[in-house]
């Protein structure tokens, strides 16, 4: 009985502590400005989509959002295109230098990625792609790719080689066996890691704001304009940033532990 009361009590405490800031920012983004600036009014009299609409449509928030989506999409595409085959090779083959390669990929994760931002601008200027979304995607790939290699290694090593071998006995090529047997089996895990990769890119702010001026991603745009705009736009911006990330993580909650385990190693 005492244990039950304790559990309920702590659960409520945990829920309040972790959810209050999220609920309040959504509420604030829906509060009409006259209610927000009225010190006597804690709860708004009515809710409005005005701020979200203005930020999104009138102030071109949709462009920054679109930019963020494009950057994340390109970074995920690039990372999986190069990282998935690498992960496959690392699980299925034995070759000299394999451990050294794994270790050096691991090492890149403990390096502060902000250190590469400044020289990248000069490299991009030379290549003629400075201030483009593609250039940000390239930079994001540099920290998403190691994550993808490590996560696919662990997902693929959980799928027995024997299925593939059986497929090859029945006449599939190695590539065919991978595409038709291993890939479908690995798909849920890979989808979850793609979502994690998305969140990594969607949330990244330092590199994006250094690399872009005109074509800013959403967090970069917010970082550079938020503090000079009225409060209710700040909260609308915070809400726009938070909702997709929270929704996505809801669908991958089953994989949460293993993902973070690996993304942090």
């Amino acid at each position: 009985m005492i244990k039950k009361v304790f559990i309920v009590f702590v659960s409520i405490l945990v829920i309040v502590w972790f959810l209050t800031p999220v609920v309040l920012i959504v509420l604030a983004s829906l509060t009409p400005s006259e209610d927000y600036y009225n010190q006597n009014r804690i709860l708004p009299r009515k809710l409005t989509l005005d701020h979200l609409y203005k930020l999104f449509v009138v102030l071109n928030g949709w462009r920054a959002t679109l930019n963020s989506l494009q950057v994340a999409g390109m970074a995920i595409g690039l990372s999986f295109l190069t990282g998935l085959p690498a992960g496959y090779v690392l699980t299925r083959y034995v070759f000299p230098g394999k451990n050294a390669i794994r270790l050096s990929i691991l090492l890149t994760r403990s390096f502060p990625t902000l250190i590469i931002a400044v020289p990248l601008i000069m490299i991009y200027l030379k290549l003629g792609i400075s201030d483009t979304l593609f250039s940000v995607a390239l930079a994001h790939t540099s920290f998403i790719l190691p994550f993808v290699v490590l996560i696919t290694t662990s997902i693929l090593s959980g799928i027995s080689v024997e299925y593939e071998e059986a497929g090859m006995i029945f006449g599939l090529s190695r590539f065919g066996a991978f595409m038709r047997i291993t890939l479908p089996l690995a798909l849920p895990g890979l989808a979850a890691s793609a979502i994690f990769a998305f969140i990594m890119s969607w949330n990244e702010v330092f590199i994006s704001s250094i690399l872009t001026f005109v074509n800013r991603t959403l967090p970069a745009q917010i970082l550079n304009t938020a503090m000079t705009s009225p409060d209710y736009f700040k909260f609308a911006a915070g809400t726009i940033m938070a909702i997709p990330a929270m929704t996505f993580i809801f669908f991958t909650r089953k994989y949460l532990m293993s993902m973070w385990g690996i993304s942090l190693k």
Partner: protein, 274 residues
């Protein structure tokens, strides 16, 4: 052959820029160490270093204690614990930018905290948390925001460690009549040590790169290393100084990693000699 794209990519987009950062940081009009000399001469650098260390030193232990408590709680596996698990992990999905805006929403002059305190009659005029005059309060708001935002990260690592502890040890402890506190001290915490160490390592590294929360909530009222790297680049247009700051962050990170890993190593060796 299939590995080649990955390796080439990492060399081109991590290795090469890294070298460039070093070159930038070590070239200046006044010799190899000119930028670092200039950096040390400004009070800003020492303030930024002090603040970054201070923030790290406060939040990391706090997060660890909170995360262990939360992990022990969730690991009781009561009905509905998976919902609690999801709720705790929400901040993991949030960026530092949105976390900063969330706490601004609470602590702003017309934010919820002030409104509620005014309504309750605790205050008769709003309490200001932001601005150069209120650096102390700003600092604690930042600490609170970071604790809120990043405790779940530590929590997930600790919980994973807890779940891998063999139940039989705890059953054996029950047989010997250990109290819950004894179980925690003598069995759970020692077995959790690797998880705790890796959580500490990761959090310390990330805390040293703290940027978004401070930049949004305090701007340059509270100087921090990553913020200075950003400021020198975007506001002063001096990539050399910016790179020098980046090098400082990277070398401290390296030192931190080395410190933790060497502690882990020596512990392992002790274990081996027994």
């Amino acid at each position: 052959m299939i590995l080649l794209p990955t390796i080439v990519y990492l060399i081109a987009f991590l290795g090469y820029p890294l070298i460039q950062t070093f070159i930038l940081a070590f070239t200046s009009e006044s010799g190899t160490f000119g930028n670092f000399q200039r950096l040390m001469d400004t009070g800003d650098f020492w303030k930024a270093l002090k603040n970054t260390i201070l923030i790290t030193g406060i939040i990391v232990p706090l997060q660890l204690v909170l995360a262990i408590a939360l992990a022990l709680f969730v690991n009781m596996r009561f009905k509905g614990y998976s919902l609690i698990l999801y709720i705790i992990s929400i901040p993991l999905a949030l960026s530092d930018v949105s976390a900063a805006l969330m706490s601004y929403n609470i602590f702003a002059p017309t934010g919820y905290l002030n409104k509620i305190l005014l309504k309750l009659g605790v205050l008769d005029r709003p309490l200001y948390f932001f601005g150069y005059m209120f650096q102390n309060r700003e600092f604690w708001v930042i600490v609170l925001t970071e604790v809120w935002r990043a405790t779940p990260l530590v929590f997930v690592i600790i919980l994973a460690g807890l779940q891998s502890i063999n139940k039989e040890y705890l059953e054996a402890a029950d047989v010997f009549g250990f109290s819950n506190w004894q179980k925690l001290r003598k069995i759970i915490l020692p077995l959790l040590k690797p998880s705790i160490m890796s959580a500490l390592l990761i959090r310390t590294l990330f805390a040293f790169q703290i940027f978004g929360v401070v930049w949004l909530l305090a701007g340059r009222d509270i100087l921090i290393l990553a913020g200075e790297a950003y400021y020198w680049h975007n506001n002063v247009n001096d990539p050399h100084m910016s790179s020098a700051y980046a090098i400082v962050i990277a070398s401290v990170s390296l030192a931190i990693s080395w410190f933790y890993i060497s502690i882990l190593r020596s512990k392992e060796l002790e274990g081996g000699q027994k």
